[in-house]
Symmetry: C2
Subunit: 447 residues, 2 copies
């Protein structure tokens, strides 16, 4: 009996795996067999097995592709446009005025550049929350990445905002051969009123859609919400029924103690995305990761948009989550490298609703795999591989990025995106994109 | 009249320069002419000029090489050996027991690996504080790097400790064609007694040597010092005469308000080196950079050793200094990208006593230059070049590293160090190096 060749075999790597208790371990000299976009086996013997494509990964670690659990991909176009400012000025004086110039073509080029950056940094899936999302879906399809996409809306758009968000989600879910999942995407409790949040929750339940939104982004927002409404942003989510849905909350640095029983009692599936770089930059506090873990809420890693975060480097988010959490808790033993890797893998997969499909290297999981080169001087010697990955390796050490078994970057060469033409075309559009002389803005930041 | 060819001409770069007020600016399409290890000119026209070597640096930024103002280079051998621990356990249970096994050969191989990492990360000068420093001087000479070296000592060594530190400093200063400067290197006020600190100060003045030591590393140390001696570590430095010397203080996260007038009143040249990654990891507070700047103390960037910091990535120290300081001060407007670049350039050069020789690209300065590639997707587009350098670029974007006009890395290829043989040889020695079964340690951590 002959077996048809596998689509891809990766040989000689050290594979990051999870045991039955989700503890992280490493299998040395492993081979990974991929067929039909799925991991078929992780084995030590593939000598008799044919494959259409083979990758020799000696000296490299294979790990689940990183997941960027909250971003605004196209905002790479605004990377560095508004620096060293408090969030209010950043929104009102720069980002929201500039976004009133935004054309579909800007989103297309920005998203394409973002996909290039993410593929180069070992990201295989991103949760995007922005405008002109049909365009982002098309770029996702062409790039080969996996994505969880939501068309953002404000109540200031009237009924049309939520309608468009729903239409987008229904039209695109399952797109790009199943790599695209979709969400309803209200902007935040301070820009979407309670009636629209309630309607969002109803539609989410009716259509089986998740919800992705910003909430409790900073302590100031929580304090303002309490002063204006007598409720925290999390309590508003609860009251409007959103905690009964599958909900991905971006940031949550303003989550306070009284929010914890509310989140714990939620009947939906609640997750939080943390993007620590931007919080330091805005001088916000950190996401209360330890408290959230204490009540079983998965905390996924994210970068937010590059206009605030300056990069889409999820590797850095992983390291910073560990560092900032130790510092914030005053406890060097907390958030070890293995915990950080758990956030980067299974918790991030759960945060984007794909906990059964991605986030670990195991038979039956989608073949979203990155190969990380540890031969550089900055990653030698290796006494503790988890620490090497979290605290010494960098996004630039990712040599190969694979999604659904398809190689999107090989030896640091992008295979699905023409970077120079993307950068060139975007550059020509920037002067009109960043023009703020019209004096308008798409929304007011007033929490 | 004919002119002899220049040694090196770098063409087509964007050059980071300082104006007369030390404000950072950028000169586009610049050429840098190097002769005799020195920058001869930064000009826009080199058409008629011959050169032995030319580097086409279009799309790249030329900036002063980074300076690692406090490290223990050879400790890369222990990268990842003791993770997620408080400082006391880290020292007493791992580092100081392991260091009692340390042989000169371990230091040689560790230092060589460290030099490889630093050259790859755009570091052109490092301030090293460790043991077997003659070996580190030899590796520095062979690597082509610039270094500020001090033989560390404890009072537990008896009189020999300080003697050896002095002999090392006198024997090696001016070594490696002037690339090596030296310092006296007492470990810290909690491991070196007041008599030895006073003797160090006297010898420093007598021989015109700087002093490099750890002090006020954490708030705990300051509190313990106050409880035991009624004085802060900074007050001990003042009382023992060390603040009358050229002194480089590592860390200083425990510097408190009452220390500021003491530092401000110092008759010597005081500088502080900050290594923010390790402070987060040990859950220490940050160096009070804003307060130190307020009294005119230069704050240089550093990584500490890789056993605590996990990397010798000064680029990351630059970004983290900006991020952590914004967060610690609660002020997103503070420590802008241009301020971070000022720390990375002139302030770091002053911290290692080379403020007139390196730290800026200007005629007459030593030609310590790095070329940074900004064509990657994570550094595009560029709206604010200072922000791109600090918050988007990474150590891995350094393509070329030059010290005294000599190219040490070209297009990411190391030209002076054989990395695989260094990693291989070091690997063979690791089992006996990390053996702690003897139960000894070189020193006790008890501040």
């Amino acid at each position: 009996m002959t077996q048809s060749p596998a689509d891809l075999i990766i040989t000689g790597c050290t594979a990051l795996v999870h045991d039955e208790h989700e503890e992280i371990g490493f299998v040395e000299d492993a081979s990974i067999v991929v067929r039909g976009g799925v991991i078929e086996a992780i084995t030590d013997d593939v000598r008799d097995l044919d494959a259409v494509e083979r990758i020799d990964a000696r000296g490299q670690v294979a790990m689940p592709g990183l997941i960027n659990c909250h971003t605004h991909a196209a905002m790479v176009a605004l990377r560095g446009i508004a620096e060293d400012l408090p969030a209010e000025e950043w929104f009102n004086d720069f980002i929201w005025p500039i976004e009133s110039n935004l054309k579909e073509k800007d989103v297309e080029l920005g998203a394409r550049l973002a996909c290039a950056e993410m593929i180069r940094g070992g990201v295989t899936c991103f949760a995007d929350h922005y405008f002109s999302m049909d365009t982002v879906a098309a770029v996702t399809a062409e790039s080969g990445l996996r994505a969880h996409l939501g068309e953002a809306f404000f109540s200031s758009q009237g009924a049309e905002g939520l309608e468009k968000s729903l239409e987008f989600a229904l039209r695109n879910r399952g797109g790009a051969n199943g790599r695209i999942t979709t969400a309803l995407a209200p902007h935040a409790p301070y820009t979407v009123d309670d009636a629209d949040l309630s309607a969002t929750a109803e539609l989410a339940r009716e259509h089986g859609l998740p919800v992705h939104l910003h909430a409790s982004e900073s302590r100031d927002q929580t304090d303002n919400s309490l002063a204006r409404h007598g409720r925290t942003p999390i309590e508003i989510l609860e009251r409007t029924g959103l905690l009964d849905t599958e909900i991905l909350i971006a940031h949550g640095t303003g989550i306070i103690d009284r929010d914890l029983p509310v989140l714990e009692g939620a009947t939906g599936q609640v997750a939080v995305a943390t993007a620590p770089r931007g919080y330091l930059k805005f001088a916000w506090g950190p996401t209360p990761v330890r408290a959230l873990r204490g009540i079983g809420v998965p905390v996924g890693l994210a970068t937010d948009g590059a206009a605030s975060n300056n990069s889409l480097d999820v590797w850095e988010s992983m390291a910073l989550t560990s560092l900032v959490q130790k510092s914030a808790e005053g406890d060097p033993r907390w958030l070890t490298s293995r915990q950080a890797l758990h956030h980067a893998t299974l918790q991030s997969a759960r945060a984007v609703g794909l906990g059964e499909r991605i986030g670990s290297l195991a038979p039956g999981r989608r073949a979203d795999i990155i190969l990380v080169d540890l031969t550089g001087p900055h990653t030698q010697p290796v006494h503790d591989l988890a620490a090497t990955l979290v605290h010494s390796a960098r996004a630039g050490d990712v040599r190969t990025t694979i999604v659904d078994g398809r190689v999107l970057m090989r030896d640091r060469r992008l295979l699905t995106i023409d970077l120079p033409s993307t950068v060139g075309e975007l550059g020509e559009r920037l002067p009109s994109l960043v023009d703020r002389s019209h004096g308008g803005r798409i929304q007011e930041y007033d929490t």
